[in-house]
């Protein structure tokens, strides 16, 4: 399989900026409903890896791209792996960027590959100086190859490493400070990890460098009882819960309106359900914009 080559009209198309509105993740179940129905959402995001080939997926993405600004969200680059970055994978991301001209390109503060084996999950890093050095090198290399800054997303996690020395919020903020990358603040991940590990979710958001946060993710999560304890699991399989909406409102109060994505990847609902979640997020964004202009006035 080879990466797509730039289509002739790609150069003519500008990377329309992502508005400070709600967008939705484009999933294959909704290809036709989105390209033909054109729901009133501000922008779309896709997982880059699903569009490295040609045929139907790429044709639908291009059809959708004709009507919406786009964000490419990678799940496979494994920025946190100690070892060389996958140059072949990076080249495919670059070719896709040239083809569909996304406004934002993002990856994760996590790792997925060890010893050449890809585990298809976003695995937690130990928060140490060593891991910080590794991920920053990889973010820099990615930005150099792509010729543009990327965003990195804070993870959700179900364990903590005993030898971590840096709080996660400082680790994430430091990546942005050292590499100039932007941040994708996943509010659901903050909530999930805060509950799982007993830290203060609001304090985490306060610690984010304001100007670096260029995108927010919202999603539903599952709650699993393990013995007497509870573990929250980020499965993107349900509606955003009330506590996460409240945390989102707090994040917007601090950051102002930021482009916000509704992620719903498992038990994918009908498109109107997804669009209704986006409309709810738009309500929060409008309030945040009004509050901002009231302060300015």
């Amino acid at each position: 399989m080879t990466a797509p080559t730039a289509s002739p009209d790609a150069a003519a198309r500008t990377a329309d900026p992502i508005p400070a509105r709600a967008g939705i993740g484009l999933r294959h179940q909704h290809y036709r409903a989105v390209t033909e129905g054109r729901p009133p959402v501000g922008w779309l995001e896709v997982h880059s890896e699903n569009y490295f080939g040609g045929g139907r997926p790429l044709a639908f993405l291009e059809a959708a791209r004709a009507h919406y600004p786009l964000s490419l969200h990678g799940v496979g680059l494994s920025l946190g792996t100690d070892g060389p970055l996958d140059r072949d994978h990076l080249a495919r991301i670059k070719a896709l960027i040239e083809r569909v001209q996304p406004a934002l390109v993002s990856e994760h503060v996590s790792w997925s590959t060890a010893g050449g084996i890809y585990l298809n999950d976003l695995l937690p890093l130990p928060y140490t100086e060593e891991a910080l050095r590794v991920i920053c090198e990889h973010v820099r290399e990615t930005q150099d190859v792509l010729g543009r800054p990327i965003l990195v997303e804070n993870p959700s996690s179900y364990l903590q490493f005993a030898h971590s020395t840096i709080p996660e919020w400082d680790f994430v903020a430091e990546i942005s400070r050292r590499t100039g990358c932007g941040l994708l603040l996943d509010v659901n991940n903050v909530y999930v990890s805060a509950c799982n590990h007993g830290f203060d979710a609001h304090g985490y958001i306060e610690a984010m460098p304001r100007e670096a946060v260029q995108e927010i993710h919202l999603a539903g999560h599952a709650v699993r009882e393990i013995g007497d304890a509870t573990l929250r699991i980020d499965d993107h399989g349900s509606a955003v819960c009330d506590a996460v909406w409240q945390l989102y409102a707090a994040a917007l109060a601090r950051l102002g309106p930021v482009p916000t994505l509704i992620e719903w990847d498992s038990n994918v609902p009908d498109l109107p359900v997804l669009v209704a979640e986006a409309t709810t997020a738009d309500g929060f964004l409008t309030k945040a914009a009004e509050a901002r202009s009231a302060v300015a006035a």
Binding site: F52, G53, G54, G55, P57, D121, L159, G227, L231
Partner: protein, 260 residues
């Protein structure tokens, strides 16, 4: 304190093979036992990779039923985990795995159905490319035809089986007829699989036609490819076969050494 590399190797071992000892000491114990935490990661890896295999092998999944497929997938994931972070590329060896998997040894046709599904999957995800304009071949003087070589259109796949794998596959597509019994000893199939307007197509070809298409897709000169076909069928109609390939868009380009 483990290095990052040691830690990542240990976590991968724990997720894939339940090798917990190297990792357990590195995980903070608070409230939930180590195994309960690792189980979340194991479940994420195995359930998402199983879902990816199910997407690529939906007919195999129907043939063996979903629960057994889940078991086979789990064994396959342990034996041959993904080597690249692209799920569309995962499962290239699943047919070989099934061929050696004791619980399905009695289903001799199953690995071939898996191979067919992999060929379809490969065609579906292949890169876009223009097809060769037949006028370009028409413009080549006929005496130069023997030395022409062709580049296959990226989605093109050639598939053959001693079983009617194509009929099994068709019957298990949405809207397929599962009522008709397929006699597995009723003969095999030879297919050229391609993609046209984003749809996957099968072209059934005979042994000689298969030999020609295989040789051309492997880069052999037209003369050599024809000889392979003619060795099977002395009356092989090369012009008709070539015309079919050019009309269908089997090739994306050609090379004419004499014309270069």
């Amino acid at each position: 304190m483990p290095s990052l590399r040691e830690l990542q190797g240990a976590l991968a071992g724990s997720v894939l093979r339940n090798l917990d000892a190297p990792l357990a000491a590195a995980v903070r114990a608070d409230g939930i036992a180590f195994d309960g935490r690792l189980q979340v990661y194991r479940n994420n890896t195995f359930s998402s990779l199983t879902a990816a295999l199910k997407d690529s092998f939906p007919v195999v999944c129907q043939l063996v039923d979903e629960r057994f497929f889940g078991y086979a997938a789990q064994e396959y994931i342990r034996a041959d985990p993904p080597r690249a972070p692209r799920l569309a590329e995962y499962g290239a060896d699943f047919a070989d795995f099934l061929a050696g998997f004791e619980p399905v040894r009695h289903l001799a046709y199953l690995p071939d159905v898996a191979r067919l599904e992999w060929a379809v999957n490969t065609a579906y995800h292949a890169a876009d490319a223009p097809t060769l304009d037949p006028q370009r071949i028409a413009a080549v003087p006929q005496e130069r035809y023997p030395l022409l070589t062709f580049t296959p259109h990226p989605p093109v796949q050639l598939f053959s089986s001693e079983f009617p794998a194509d009929r099994v596959w068709q019957a298990h597509q949405p809207g397929g007829n599962l009522e008709t019994k397929i006699d597995l000893s009723s003969g095999g199939c030879r297919l050229l699989i391609d993609r046209h307007d984003q749809d996957i197509r099968f072209l059934a070809v005979d042994a000689a036609g298969f030999a020609l298409a295989s040789a051309l897709c492997d880069g052999h000169e037209l003369q050599e490819a024809y000889e392979k076909a003619a060795a099977i069928d002395g009356a092989f109609d090369l012009i008709a076969a070539l015309s079919t390939h050019l009309t269908r868009g089997t090739f994306t380009d050609f090379a004419d050494p004499a014309g270069a």
